[in-house]
Amino acid sequence: MIQTVEPWVVLSFSAAIFSIGLVGVLIRRNILVLLMCIELMLNAVNLTFVTLSRQLESMAGQMSVFFIITVAAAEAAVGLGLVIALFRTLRTVDTDQIQMLRE
């Protein structure tokens, strides 16, 4: 008999991870950490998709997951590139120092 995990457990878990990511994005000041937090949020969403896909017996959720993984990979590549460029010009990755768009 295969032990199954109840969907609410997984959903709660992914909600928790999403919240951690969201709060991280809002309060942390290091851009690298921000990127990681965004990654957390994305994967929390993936988890939700997979869970619901299974529960609703629809492949659409799993399709979306693959897309999100692809996009996340691209995003990480571009995002890290930008961070490097930003660091080269400003010598910092602290968002408190990067506020040139003010007013």
């Binding site: 969201l22 994005v25 809002l26 309060i27 968002t95 408190d96 990067i98 506020q99 040139m100 768009l101 003010r102 007013e103």
Partner: protein, 661 residues
């Protein structure tokens, strides 16, 4: 030929464009090369002369046609289509407008040539000639336009050019003001014109002259007389403005601030007669509105008399001529008002000849006297300016009504018809005859004071020279001496003198070529059968006698300035009133200008500043305040923005899920 009618207005327009563009882009910029008067003047003269040639061609072609078919028409393009109204730009030449085109382009050419000499020392002759050509274009559109709106286009165009040319030397504030005054007074008249046009359209449903004539002749009798009178009077208000009749004549004397050729062309020969043209063009309409005609006759007669009184006491040579023009225009309206449109047109033509001659002669005097315009400081110019003296002599005889010069014939026809027409009366005739005597008197005064007697300018002239000649028309030659004008100025004068001398023969009583020629447009005028025809000769004798009396009297008075002084002392009060133009300007100032200014000031302070400005500035202040307040949210920190986004998202989601709690 009908296909080349468009050249008549187009050539002056081309002249305007060439001179205007050349002036604007190549002469007027700071580093531009100044051009003398010669090249722009020749371009302008050639273009108007070309228009004259085409006008002559049109005239000859008309002459070749049978009298009833004497109309040439060219449709250029459709101007606009609005609802029922479809306006075409149609040029139409008939026996009336061909006379006007000939006068405009013919006299215009002479005046253009004259201007080459007169404006020789001007700073910006390119601009001057461009304006002059533009004026001719507008004037030709006015007389060639086949419908009322097209005529109005020309009507406004000449008004604009008049304004531009009166204020041509705009750095002199008086002159700029004179231009403004002309423009504003004309606006009052134009309002009447426009309202009249509207009334015509709403009554007859067409604005094209040919259609209008058909409609009026077939249905005019069914239209209430009050409407017809209203149309007639409203259009006449337009004429009052443009043709300087009481009470809107006040701008014309001030218009003399412009260069003298302008006074000759615009304010004597052509533009101011466009009112007569309009009334003659619509004579079929006016014949149905005898009340309107009556008003026109009275206003014309009174203007003729009133302006002549003012001319008695003016000292500025151009002002005398200006009031004389107002007076002669009054004559023309008197003729129109008694239904003698042909006589009015006849006087327009002869007046164009002799008044252009007088103005250009005066210009020659002013030119020779180095911009002295006060006739009290002239005298004895006969010796210094023999050619000008001679042509002025002819102009003087023509306007005074001495046979066989042109003014005699036209004036006499007007007087006779004022007496004998079924709209005429002894009073109108008396007014005209009295004015004729007065005209002879004040023109003789002008002539004697200017050309005869002893020179009175030596001391005054040396005086101006002692202070150096600051006038920007300072002379390069002659060095201060009074001199005759160059040939380019005297030749046009001589041509005009010839025309003034013989021009009257086109309308000799009982062999009246002109009246016959105009018949397709202006039906032959019936003489009141109750009037004894032999009276015509008596009245003619009376008017010649009157003119001679006026001349002799003026000679007696002004030959010797002492007797003039005695006369002046005797009528001190009257003289002062005349000198101040009956205080009409002051009256307008008190009755109209000041109240309007006070009203405007009240509106400005109480409405504009107190209410409208408060609103407008208030809006500005509110947005400024809002901006100042809200700008603190723009921290530049992406994470703050994200946080706000989140809050917004939560609120939006909350609203979507729970609705408004």
């Amino acid at each position: 030929m009908a296909q080349s009618l468009f050249w008549i207005p187009l050539l002056p327009l081309l002249g305007f464009l060439i001179n205007g563009i050349w002036y604007m882009f190549f002469q007027s910029p700071a580093n531009g090369r100044k051009a003398g008067a010669t090249v722009p003047g020749v371009i302008a003269s050639l273009s108007i002369f070309g228009a004259f040639v085409f006008s002559l061609k049109a005239f000859l072609e008309l002459k070749g046609l049978a009298p009833e078919q004497r109309v040439l028409e060219q449709l250029l393009f459709n101007w606009m289509k609005v609802g029922e109204l479809s306006l075409d730009v149609t040029l139409r030449v008939d026996s009336l407008s061909t006379l006007f085109t000939l006068v405009i382009t013919g006299v215009g050419t002479l005046i253009h040539l004259y201007s080459i000499g007169y404006m020789g020392h001007d700073e910006t002759p390119g601009k001057f000639f461009a304006y002059l050509n533009l004026f001719c274009f507008a004037m030709l559109v006015l007389v060639l336009g086949g419908s009322l709106p097209l005529l109005f286009l020309g009507w406004e165009g000449v008004g604009l050019c008049s304004y531009l040319l009166i204020g041509y030397w705009y750095s002199d504030e008086e002159k700029a003001k004179a231009g403004k005054k002309a423009f504003i007074v004309n606006r009052v008249g134009d309002l009447g014109f426009i309202l009249g046009t509207f009334l015509i359209y709403s009554t007859f449903g067409t604005l094209d002259f040919a259609n209008l004539k058909e409609v009026v002749l077939s249905q005019g009798a069914m239209v209430p007389a009050a409407v017809l009178t209203g149309i007639g009077l409203l259009l006449f208000v337009g004429c009052m403005g443009k043709s300087a009749q009481i009470p809107l004549y006040i701008w014309l004397p001030d218009a003399m601030a412009g260069p003298t050729p302008v006074s000759a062309l615009i304010h004597a020969a052509t533009m101011v007669t466009s009112g007569i043209y309009l009334l003659s063009r619509l004579n079929f309409l006016y014949s149905l509105a005898p009340d309107a005609l009556h008003v026109i006759a009275i206003i014309g007669g009174v203007t003729a008399f009133f302006a002549a009184t003012i001319a008695f006491a003016q000292r500025d040579i151009k002002k005398v001529l200006a009031y004389s023009t107002v007076s002669q225009l009054g004559y023309m309206f008197l003729a129109t008002g008694v239904g003698a449109y042909g006589a009015g047109v006849f006087h327009v033509i002869t007046h164009a000849f002799f008044k252009a001659l007088l103005f250009l002669g005066a210009g020659s005097v002013i030119h020779g006297m180095h911009h002295e315009q006060d006739i009290m400081k002239m005298g004895g110019l006969r010796k210094y300016m023999p050619q000008t003296f001679f042509v002025f002599l002819i102009g003087w005889l023509a306007i005074a009504g001495i046979p066989p010069f042109s003014g005699f014939f036209s004036k006499d026809e007007i007087l006779w018809l004022a007496f004998s027409s079924d709209h005429g009366s002894v009073v109108l005739w008396g007014l005209g005859a009295l004015t004729a005597v007065m005209t002879a008197f004040y023109m003789t005064r002008l002539f004697v004071l200017t050309f005869l007697g002893k020179p009175r300018f030596e001391e005054s002239h040396h005086d101006t020279h002692g202070h150096g000649h600051h006038d920007d028309h300072g002379h390069g030659h002659g060095h201060g001496g009074v001199h005759e004008s160059p040939l380019i100025m005297t030749i046009p004068l001589m041509v005009l003198a010839l025309l003034s001398a013989v021009g009257g023969f086109m309308g000799v009583p009982h062999m009246n070529w002109l009246a016959h020629w105009l018949e397709p447009v202006i039906p032959h005028h019936a003489v009141n059968p109750a009037v004894n025809p032999s009276l015509e000769w008596v009245l003619m004798g009376v008017s010649v006698l009157g003119a001679v009396i006026g001349i002799v009297f003026a000679f007696k008075v002004y030959r010797d300035l002492k007797s003039a002084e005695v006369l002046r002392k005797k009528f001190e009060g009257l003289h002062r009133a005349l000198e101040n133009k009956w205080y009409v300007d002051e009256m307008f100032e008190v009755l109209l200008v000041r109240p309007i200014q006070a009203f405007s000031r009240a509106l400005w302070k109480n409405v504009d500043v107190a209410i409208i400005d408060r609103f407008v500035l208030g809006f500005g202040r509110v947005s400024q305040w809002t901006g100042q307040t809200v700008r603190v949210t723009q921290t530049g920190s992406t994470q703050t923005y994200l946080f706000m986004l989140l809050i917004g998202l939560v609120i939006a989601l909350g609203y979507l899920i729970y609705g408004l709690v």
